[in-house]
């Protein structure tokens, strides 16, 4: 008698269809792997980065996936620390999404450094003053935590459950998960913040530089806050996307509504804080270094003042206001429309804090903006995580009981 690999009581597509689906994603992964080979073998000259753009698409992708992966820590925080039981219905999915995001971030970092084989120097020869050191430590420890959080979910697979040891392991781990979740939350607060610190401490770069509290610039707090606000919205949106693809209801609407409400208020407070920060920076910090606000915005389409309007108004206040109103979040279209806007807002924020910092000319005699467009290798390796995420989530969805409410919501099976 063989144990089915698919969790009990749920229905999954045929294996041929599944393999085809995986195959398409695998092709994209292969493309990325080829790009990885080019980069590791021939060096970073395979990219379009240059001495003006030491940080470029990859660092943006890193900041972006970590911020979006923030859904894992903030849902964990809500579920285990605040004790919002309802959030537990989506927490498995959030954790997997977190694993995807964080492993991708590390992979991209491994590509981005010129000497990957020396990568461990960041731990062994750490400079405690560097925000990047803080990022590296917290990031790797938190990835460990995420994996630990992921293990019990993994162990839920019927085949694995058959092994008694794993069965008990998963059971016991579930019980102590709150401890890990708490650790994860702590670490996350820190490294999300450190990532904000990465641009914020650059006092030679007036576009990025922010004053702050002790050693932490305001961006430290803003990054954490924004990740906490938008991360769960990303989790929810991805969950909704999974529902759309599988044509199945996986999570009850009240879960979405709860996350939306919390995120809405988080987003609103974030965007108010961000606005205050921007105003202070534009009127006090930057002018003290001789820069007027419009010195930072060029008339080229990429680094236009509209990018600021889009980030704060269109992708900040607008979704926040939609989400805090009951009518807004209970209308599916508005809810996910707002979520997507908020995600775009977050992506813009990370983009601006990396790329525009590099682009703006500092020396008055150098009027030209530094322009950059990514090479195919950078694009391929940045898309790779998406394909890899699709594969991992598909496998997880197929073989693990990710959604506790699935059986109940799809009784027909």
């Amino acid at each position: 008698m063989t144990t089915p690999a698919i969790p009990e009581g749920v229905k999954r597509c045929g294996s041929r269809q599944f393999l085809l689906w995986l195959g398409v994603a695998a092709l994209v992964v292969l493309w990325g792997v080829y790009a990885m080979y080019r980069i590791w073998f021939y060096g970073l000259n395979q990219t379009n980065m240059n001495n003006a753009y030491g940080f470029a698409l990859w660092i943006w992708a890193d900041l972006a996936v970590i911020a979006l992966g923030g859904g894992a820590f903030f849902s964990g925080f809500l579920a285990y620390i605040i004790g919002l039981k309802n959030v537990k219905n989506i927490i498995n999915f959030a954790v997997i999404l977190g694993v995807v995001c964080y492993t991708s971030a590390l992979l991209i970092l491994g590509l981005d450094v010129g000497q990957p084989l020396r990568g461990w120097f960041i731990f062994w020869h750490a400079n405690v003053h560097s925000m990047l050191t803080e990022v590296a430590f917290c990031l790797s420890v938190y990835l460990g935590v995420l994996i630990i959080e992921f293990i019990p979910v993994l162990l839920e697979n019927p085949k694995i459950q058959k092994v008694r040891f794993f069965h008990h392991l998963s059971h016991n781990m579930h019980e102590i998960m709150a401890v890990f979740a708490a650790t994860g939350v702590f670490l996350s607060f820190f490294h999300q913040g450190s990532l904000g610190g990465v641009p914020g401490v650059l006092y030679g770069r007036p576009f990025a530089f922010r004053e702050g509290l002790f050693v932490w610039p305001w961006t430290f707090f803003l990054f954490t806050w924004s990740a906490a606000a938008v991360g769960p919205l990303f989790t929810a949106s991805m969950c909704r996307l999974t529902e759309a693809i599988t044509r199945k209801k996986l999570v009850k609407d009240d879960v979405y509504h709860l996350l939306a409400k919390i995120s809405g208020w988080m987003l609103l407070t974030y965007i108010i804080a961000k606005s205050i920060d921007t105003i202070y920076w534009a009127t006090v910090t930057a002018p003290s270094m001789g820069f007027a606000l419009m010195d930072f915005y060029s008339n080229n389409p990429l680094y236009n003042i509209w990018i600021l309007v889009a980030e704060i108004a269109v992708c900040g206040f607008l979704p926040a206001l939609i989400l805090i109103t009951r009518k807004g979040r209970e209308n599916k279209k508005l809810l996910f429309g707002a979520a997507i806007l908020a995600i775009i807002g977050l992506l813009i924020n990370r983009w601006v804090m990396v790329l525009q910092v590099m682009a703006a000319p500092l020396m008055p005699f150098q009027e030209e903006w530094f322009m950059y467009s990514p090479a195919w290798t950078e694009v391929a390796t940045s898309i790779l995580p998406i394909a890899y995420g699709i594969i991992l989530i598909s496998l997880a969805y197929r073989y693990l009981p990710l959604f506790p409410q699935e059986k109940e919501l799809n009784p027909g099976n």
Binding site: M1, T3, P158, Q161, K162, R164, F165, H167, H168
Partner: protein, 218 residues
Amino acid sequence: MSTQTDNTSNTPSNDPSPKKGATGWVILAFFIIGFGFSLLSGWVGFPKLLYKEVPHPIDFNHALHMDLVYDGCDSCHYFRKDGSFSGSPTLDECRDCHGFVMGINENEEKFAEEYVLEDKEVPWNNYAKQPDCVYFSHAPHVKGAEMDCATCHGDIGESESLRPYQENRLTGYSRDIWGWNMSRLGEPEYAPRMKMMDCVNCHVEQTDSKGNCFQCHK
């Protein structure tokens, strides 16, 4: 790591009919076998794989030469006018004495025939050779801090025969740099070890500072 084998009521429903598994002792034995194998291969086999023996071009007899020169080590390893250190003598310097085959011993003959007469520099193995990134000047150590050669180079000056030289296959470094004992515990075997922290420790002790990166790096 422990194996929980207590049979509780909530065994999964599809648990196969209980068979007698291996005992704890057997499992432990397997663990020890694996553990021991790794330890042994890591501590004994790995160094043999990592290092290769490089034969010396000439088995140089320091003791013999020390008897013949007036100025100790400085006779052949001297400071140039600009304070740089000459290191191993060049063929021209050896030629002052070794102009022809004297037939003293096998080594001398080999040296004269293969190098002096062929006008070829001897590719001496340098136990203390540092990589290109290291800036090391003998002058502050020998002239400033008045250190003896032996402090860092051991008693090579009194040796009658060259001790073995091994090269790290991955890095190209002399084995002396890491030290011959893989664990780096205990007293060094021939001469002090020369990884960066070995230099740093001495600097901290002697100058109350580990110095600055540029002091020893280029």
